[in-house]
Symmetry: C2
Subunit: 159 residues, 2 copies
């Protein structure tokens, strides 16, 4: 990947707050909004969602999801040129008794301090999305297929 | 629906340029970015995409899609409060020889004049998404289930 595309990718994953989550709902695609925080090595994306929400009900039944993150609309006067990445992966719960719960919670709350009260709600839980591969579009006609290994490599060279 | 939520809904559909499209890819959800223009009566959402893109390949195989539109991140300091709508519907091609092609193309290009050259590309086509129902979240804990009839009614009262 060229350096300009790599810089954009790192910006997408680290600076954006919102992502579009695709789940399976009665066998059909369903897209909803989530807040996310990414692990330093890009190997995990954390979300904190309610069991009352459609998307949580969906991925608890079928953990295969898609997570799409795009550049802010203000980044380019031509919206078709905006950078975006569609990650495909699997969701698993991060429970309070798990070894990595504290670190994941800290990562999430450092990015979203206003969400702290939600950790006291019994319907909310922390979930980890482990990406298996991704389609990264750095601009019009400039697309890359990435693996978990190439995401980790992007994290390594940019840290 | 309360008036404040209705005003937000109309703003989402009319003012936003970008949406997240959910398709089925090998039986799994896949989310990507699209530009969209909505018909005045909210009964159709037009997109203009390339057959080289994953999402077009997906919906030509299986026309059931989800289209999610969210408020700009700048609209609220708490991203969890942003308004968003997840529409479920079906894609169909709008061909140049169809009666409504001219009107749909004009609607799309009025919103995205910079996309005019793409209408000369043979891999790009205009597609219509007909929504069947929608999940509209006007803010934290404020959700509505909408039908095509309620979308049309929202268009009528706001015009």
């Amino acid at each position: 990947m060229d350096t300009a595309s790599l810089i954009k990718l790192v910006g997408l994953l680290k600076k954006q707050q919102l992502a579009s989550l695709g789940t399976l709902r009665n066998g059909q695609p369903f897209v909803s909004m989530v807040l996310f925080a990414v692990a330093d090595d890009f190997s995990a994306f954390y979300i904190h969602t309610s069991k009352l929400a459609f998307h949580t009900q969906d991925f608890l039944k079928n953990p295969v999801v898609s997570l799409m993150i795009m550049e802010a609309a203000s980044a380019n006067p031509d919206p078709q040129q905006l950078a975006r990445i569609s990650l495909s992966g699997t969701v698993s719960a991060v429970n309070a008794e798990d070894d990595n719960f504290g670190r994941a919670q800290l990562l999430y709350l450092t990015k979203f301090p206003q969400s702290e009260p939600l950790f006291g709600f019994t319907d909310f839980s922390l979930y980890r999305i482990t990406p298996e591969n991704a389609r990264y579009v750095a601009g019009f006609g400039k697309a890359f297929n990435l693996t978990l290994a190439s995401l980790r490599e992007a994290a390594r060279v940019s840290s």
